[in-house]
């Protein structure tokens, strides 16, 4: 390819027929003209240079319409040029809502338009704009389709069809985007990489602080990069990096969560905790509100200048500039230098700043209109002309002052709003400064500093100085500053205070209007909210900033009010005749920049707990399912067969999921007495007791066994899912009561295996030298022994109703212990057969058979409560009450007369209405019948009472049993 042609003027046919060119290379431009690349837009190849944004490349190729608006489907063009506005939302490789003006191009990326059909140029839905206007005032939907009610769903369907901007895949099986979290602790976090932020970071780093700086743009430098100071800005960035500052680019800070600042950068969410924060977030240039102010070709001054200087794209051929301050004058001069024919500058200030700048504008041959603003743009698919006029206090054009100027670019600058969102989130208060017409952040939290334009220091020198001072202050707060540096800081502060006030900025009218009807004047481009809409809302009584926001949806779109909040406040102030400062701001909410869900979500996995024996269960082809946080073997293919094996021979189950706590200390017994409803301190060493814990309200919260190892040591087991809460509860009360004991959760470090069945004793004695006789280790005894070479705590417990030994050992030995037991012929059984077996014994499962209202009395366990205990214990007062007032419902066993197995959750009926529920139900293989547990009215809690169960409409007859179905006397257990 011919180098000159490539670097010089790439001429491309414009959509509308015109031709645009790239400007000659600009000093400091971001594009690399030696590296052309190509991407596609709506299926057509688009040439670009590395360094272009999607929008700059499209603009260079003649595109002027970038999106269609949310409600009226009006064409929208480039506005901010920095990735902040909602005018250039596109879909990139399937991801919606990408800001084309901030997103760098990548070779081969597939870019598509949003919210228009069939194309951006010809959008069928734009008919809404022409015809439906009068029918769609704010909240029109609240006033229509009320009668007949039957029509509303139909209307809603149409509304939904028109809703939304981007498009997502209707179905997708898994996440395709892998994202990460990174945690970073540092001394100082600087948010914003403009000249102030860079200076602050550099200074803090020089003084020894560990500094992180995050910047939204692709490189630090800020506004200066496009405004002739790129060398200075980039040099400062180099110095900051050299001083050790960690610079994060394309990394917006999303919010301020009590000192934790998430920063999104590509695939990574940095979670940054800093000792000090410096906000150097700059300002956001504001648009002006006038008729048809949304036409493509209406551009913020900063956007037009960025487009030209950073990307070498000529934003227009003939420009009109409307401004409220010096910014517009600077922009006019810059554009003129770049070869844009700047016809007129309308400066709202009566004296146009009164200084040298105005003279320069005139000297450059640009017409200057003082005290004048733009009242209307004209054109169909883009700006063709602008009407300028002097306006009265109400924003209406003064008779005889209107002037229509042809142009294809209308540059607007409505002043700069400090970007205070993060500061307000951190707890600062918004303060309206009447002199500058801005809201600043005031009353900052102690660990937050502020620098640069967000604090009113707008010109580069002042911003840099304020940054240096803020950096030094942060270092000072960290105790890293010498007395000499502190003197320098004082000096800098003094110098800063002595600087002349920035030149005045005029406050624009809430809306500027010419005579006659005029087009829509938008306050909020995202949401298509017009000035008229806000006036309408106020007239209807939505006259506070929050109410009008909620009614008109102003500031609620993708740009979160960056370009509309101030304008909506002005409108409200005007309509309610309230001073601007009294209108106030709406609450600043995170995230500051919209963020894809995947970026927040991090890696797509859920933490799961697995026992030390889990691999074996897999090999045995166990059905593995979630049980709380655990992955557990539900069965090994034949739950009933497994249950039968336990009852007839021997079985082995992995019960490592049980919560396990060691409670140790002189007051250990006392602590347990106060936490369990029965007495534990009287337990003899080597003995085990079942216990129940309740809430203050006497409701069962957990159960398990407590074994006494020695005088001061208890070994406590809890339910699998309850251990976290139990441990918390123990620790909380331990601290509250200041008892001399400590609690250690050893759940993950200890494997537990239950060997049960008629042959269990025989198997155990083959694996150990210890005496396994009933005399040596009887029911509810505990002792230490070496089993198959593994040191174990052996607990004789009978949850499944057979002679059983729970063997607890160090987790790494769990698998070999399991293997040794299995090798002796004990059949592995899973959770499901265990549930059948325990149901035969009417042993409850907390959380299954009990709910948040179950007391031990209702659950038929009055024996588990010892009200004769001398200690006060958790739940005592409630249980004393419960003991005196018989429960209305009771937990009982039942058998179904017809052998049906009702669904767990089926309802027990009395007089056709719900009066209880089935909590567990199974077929019991050994009993050849179906059994279950249910809550029934107390009157029915007696043997042989008949109950009726309603199960998905089916009626099932059942008989109540209050005693265990199997071994009711417990002879087997104790044998």
């Amino acid at each position: 390819m011919d180098g000159a042609a490539e670097r010089g003027a790439v001429a491309v046919a414009r959509d509308g027929g015109g031709v645009v060119t790239r400007l000659p290379p600009q000093p400091g431009e971001r594009i690399d003209r030696d590296r052309p690349i190509s991407f596609s837009f709506d299926g057509t190849a688009v040439p670009a240079y590395r360094g272009d944004t999607i929008a700059s490349a499209l603009y260079a190729n003649g595109r002027r319409i970038f999106s269609r608006s949310f409600k009226y489907h009006r064409p929208r063009g480039e506005l901010c040029g920095c990735g902040r506005c909602g005018n250039s939302l596109v879909q990139v490789d399937g991801a919606p809502g990408i800001r084309a003006c901030g997103e760098p191009v990548r070779p081969g990326m597939r870019v598509e338009h949003q919210n228009a059909w069939p194309s951006l140029e010809r959008d069928v839905m734009s008919a809404v704009d022409r015809f439906a206007g009068p029918f769609t005032p704010p909240g029109f939907y609240y006033k229509t389709f009320i009668r007949p009610r039957s029509l509303w769903p139909l209307y809603e369907k149409l509304l939904r069809r028109a809703a939304g901007l981007g498009r997502l895949a209707p179905e997708q099986d898994e996440r395709s985007w892998r994202t990460e979290y990174r945690r970073r602790h540092c001394d100082v976090l600087v948010v914003g990489g403009g000249i102030a932020g860079l200076a602050a970071a550099l200074r803090a780093a020089e003084l020894g602080a560990d500094v992180v700086l995050c910047e939204e743009d692709v490189e630090p430098g800020g506004a200066l990069l496009a405004e002739g100071g790129h060398e200075r800005a980039r040099e400062l960035a180099r110095r900051a990096a050299a001083a050790g500052v960690e610079l994060l680019a394309r990394a917006p800070a999303l919010g301020f969560f009590d000192g934790l600042v998430p920063v999104w950068q590509g695939d990574t969410l940095h979670q940054i905790r800093a000792a000090r924060h410096i906000a150097a977030t700059g300002t956001i240039e504001q648009p002006l509100v006038f008729a048809d102010n949304d036409l493509p070709g209406v551009m913020l001054s900063s956007g037009a200048v960025r487009l030209a200087t950073l990307y070498g794209v000529k934003p227009g051929e003939r420009a009109v500039v409307a401004t409220t301050g010096d910014r517009g004058l600077h922009a006019a001069l810059a554009l003129k230098r770049l070869g844009v024919d700047v016809a007129v500058v309308a400066d709202l200030r009566a004296d146009a700043g009164g200084g040298e700048l105005a003279a320069q504008v005139q000297a450059a041959g640009i017409g200057l209109r003082r005290g004048t603003t733009v009242v209307s743009a004209h054109g169909r698919a883009g700006v063709e002309a602008a009407t300028l006029a002097r306006v009265d206090a109400d924003g209406r054009a003064v008779e005889g002052t209107a002037e229509r100027v042809a142009c294809d670019l209308l540059v607007v600058s409505g002043g700069a709003a400090p970007a205070t969102s993060l500061l307000l989130q951190s707890g600062a208060r918004a303060r309206y400064d009447t002199a500058s017409g801005r809201f600043f952040a005031d009353r900052l939290p102690a660990d937050v500093h502020v620098a640069g334009a967000v604090d009113g220091h707008e010109d580069a020198d002042a911003a840099e100085l304020s940054g240096l001072a803020a950096g030094a202050e942060a270092a000072d707060a960290l105790g890293r500053i010498s007395s000499q540096d502190r003197r320098l800081l004082t000096e800098q502060r003094r110098e800063l205070a002595a600087r002349p006030e920035a030149t005045a900025v005029a406050t624009p009218p809430a809306v500027a209007r010419g005579h006659g009807r005029g087009g829509k004047a938008f306050v909020d481009l995202d949401e298509d909210v017009t000035a008229k809409d806000i006036a309408y809302a106020v007239a209807e009584g939505y006259d506070s900033i929050e109410l009008s926001k909620r009614y008109t949806t102003v500031t609620m779109g993708p740009t979160q009010g960056r370009f509309s909040q101030l304008a909506s406040i002005r409108m409200l102030a005007r309509e309610t005749r309230t001073p601007l400062g009294d209108v106030g701001l709406t609450t600043a909410r995170p995230p500051w920049s919209t963020v894809p869900m995947a970026a927040l979500a991090g890696r797509p996995f859920e933490a799961a707990k697995r026992s030390a024996v889990h691999g074996r269960h897999r090999e045995l082809r166990a059905t593995v399912r979630w049980a709380g946080d655990w992955r557990r073997a539900y069965d090994y293919g034949d739950p009933e067969g497994e249950a039968l094996a336990v009852q007839r021979d021997a079985g082995v189950i992995d019960v490592s999921t049980l919560g396990k706590l060691v409670v140790r200390g002189p007051d250990a017994g006392e602590l347990l007495d106060r936490l369990y409803t029965n007495r534990m301190s009287t337990l003899a060493p080597g003995r085990i007791r079942y216990g129940v814990m309740t809430s203050e309200a006497g409701r069962i919260t957990d159960d398990g066994t407590v074994g006494r190892i020695d005088d001061e040591t208890f070994y406590v087991t809890t339910t699998s899912s309850g251990v976290g809460a139990v441990e918390q509860q123990f620790s909380w009360w331990l601290a509250t009561w200041a008892l001399d004991a400590d609690v250690t959760d050893v759940t993950q470090g200890v494997a537990a295996i239950n060997l049960a069945g008629p042959r269990a004793r025989e198997i155990l004695s083959r694996l150990t030298d210890a005496d396994c006789s009933n005399e040596a280790i009887g029911y509810m005894d505990a002792s230490e022994a070496t089993v198959a070479g593994v040191r174990c705590l052996v607990m004789r417990i009978g949850f499944v109703g057979e002679v059983g030994y729970e063997l607890h050992c160090a987790a790494p030995h769990g698998r070999s212990l399991w293997d040794a037991i299995a090798a002796q012929g004990a059949r592995p059984f899973g959770l499901e057969p265990q549930r059948i077996l325990r149901l035969q014994k009417l042993h409850i499962l907390v959380g299954q058979d009990t709910d948040s209202e179950s007391t031990p009395y209702g659950a038929a366990m009055p024996w588990a409560v010892r009200l004769d205990k001398e200690q006060d214990f958790i739940g005592r007062w409630a249980l004393e009450h419960a003991a005196e007032h018989p429960a209305e419902a009771a937990l009982v066993g039942f058998t179904c007369l017809g052998g049906e197995v009702p669904t767990e959750g089926a309802v027990v009926l009395v007089d056709g209405m719900p009066a209880g529920q089935v909590t567990s139900a199974r077929r019991a293989p050994l009993l050849s019948t179906s059994i279950g547990m249910a809550w029934v009215p107390a009157a029915l809690a007696r043997d042989d009472a008949r109950i009726v169960i309603s199960d998905a409409g089916r009626r099932i007859a059942a008989t109540v049993t209050t005693r265990p179905f199997y071994d009711p006397e417990g002879k087997v257990l104790r044998s």
């Binding site: 949310f70 609240y142 997502l168 979630w626 948040s852 669904t903 719900p914």
Partner: protein, 403 residues
């Protein structure tokens, strides 16, 4: 339709407070305004609604707009069913389209235990005439084709409780419609009027002290949700309530593809897509107590991770805004509604995450209580007194994270 072309104030501009009202309602949210609205029916119009901020600024404007009645207890199901039925007719009653979309409500089950709770709720609901049933994964897929219901996920879906009358409504519209009606009936709505104290003499409240002056009151109603314990303290009434935050967020609008409300208690999420195309999502109540509505990063992280398990295609959907609101949680997850030991001081509190769903029925029953001085049968089970009798109405399984 005719209102389209007429600009009329929804409610009058606030005037000075009068010296005395028959009824002072504290709290300009959905409950307070609904009560004022229904008091009209009883001819009680000398009413003031006092709101410390703008109307609907608390829970009424911060909830995720879900309505349903598939509760677990017969008392709860009956009560919320009455509320949904009132909501169904409320747009016409108020002549204001509240955009109530009865798109159906799915509570997902990911475990046996969850299936058990769903089966129980389905059966209790069915017996009370509430449309609610247990469905399998295939039917779940039909109702929400966009959702991933396959096995390769941390929480495979084993089934769901489907509740067709459930859905979403425009929460602010409920507030505004009720406010307009209350105002038209004569009630005065006073925004930016904070209650600073209550004067109690014996068993009665005699006066209400506010930031805009003091008033006398015949009856005082506390409809302040997250702040209800603070207001009750002023009356010398103790509530067994703790206040927590609940968080929610919303994405940028995308073309609608989810037409049903999806809830997963196990993953602590609920999600719906509004008529604007935004995904509205929320999580469980935070365990700590606070009056400060500061959100957390953890919320956004857990919520997005869990949501993407069900809807992987939302990975590129952008979170636009997150917020927090206050919830007043009672020990049994049922409300505390009606009388207190102070004769003329009634409460609507203990609403946890389910207050907005109950707004019309609360208004109707509280208005009836004020007008007749008798506690309506429907709300008798929710009396504050139940905590003294130990006669609780446990909705934990159906209310904790089941929006």
């Amino acid at each position: 339709m005719r209102d389209l072309f007429r600009k009329r104030r929804m409610w009058r501009r606030p005037t000075e407070l009068k010296s005395s009202y028959d009824v002072v309602v504290i709290g300009g949210g959905s409950h307070g305004l609904a009560t004022a609205h229904y008091l009209r029916e009883h001819g009680i119009t000398n009413v003031a609604v006092l709101e410390k901020s703008y109307i609907g600024s608390g829970a009424a404007g911060r909830n995720t707009t879900i309505l349903r009645s598939n509760y677990k207890t017969p008392e709860g199901a009956r009560f919320y069913d009455a509320s949904v039925k009132l909501y169904e007719g409320l747009s016409r009653e108020l002549d204001f389209n509240l955009l109530f979309s009865q798109c159906g409500h799915l509570t997902l089950a990911h475990s046996d235990r969850a299936m058990f709770v769903m089966a129980n709720r389905a059966e209790v609901n069915r017996l009370q005439g509430i449309d609610s049933r247990l469905i399998g994964p295939d039917e779940v897929k039909q109702l929400a084709p966009a959702m991933y219901v396959g096995p390769d996920t941390s929480y495979p879906i084993t089934g769901a409780l489907h509740h067709p009358p459930g859905g979403i409504i425009r929460h602010d519209a409920v507030v505004w419609g009720l406010a307009r009606s209350a105002d038209a009936g004569g009630a005065e709505i006073h925004p930016y009027t904070e209650v600073l104290g209550l004067d109690r003499s014996g068993d009665r409240i005699t006066g209400v002290r506010t930031s805009r002056g003091d008033v006398r009151a015949g009856v005082v109603l506390n409809c302040t949700a997250g702040w209800s314990t603070l207001l009750c303290d002023m009356a010398g009434v103790q509530l067994p309530i703790t206040t927590h935050i609940l968080q929610a967020c919303v994405t940028e609008p995308v073309k609608p593809f989810l037409d049903v409300v999806v809830v997963s208690s196990q993953m602590h999420i609920y999600i719906s897509q509004s008529d604007r195309g935004e995904f509205v999502m929320g999580s469980e109540i935070e365990p700590w107590t606070t009056y400060r509505t500061q959100g957390t990063l953890n919320f956004l992280q857990d919520l997005t991770r869990h949501t993407l398990e069900l809807f992987p295609q939302l990975e590129h959907a952008r979170i636009l805004r997150a917020w927090a609101g206050l919830c007043d949680l009672s020990p049994d997850y049922s409300p505390i509604l009606g009388r207190t030991e102070v004769e003329n001081f009634h409460v609507s509190a203990g609403w946890g995450t389910y207050g907005f769903k109950a707004a019309p029925i609360v208004g109707k029953t509280l208005a009836e209580l004020v007008a007749t001085d008798r506690t309506p049968e429907l709300i008798a089970p929710f009396a504050l007194e139940r905590f003294y009798r130990d006669d609780l109405v446990s909705e934990l399984a159906a209310a904790a994270v089941s929006h």
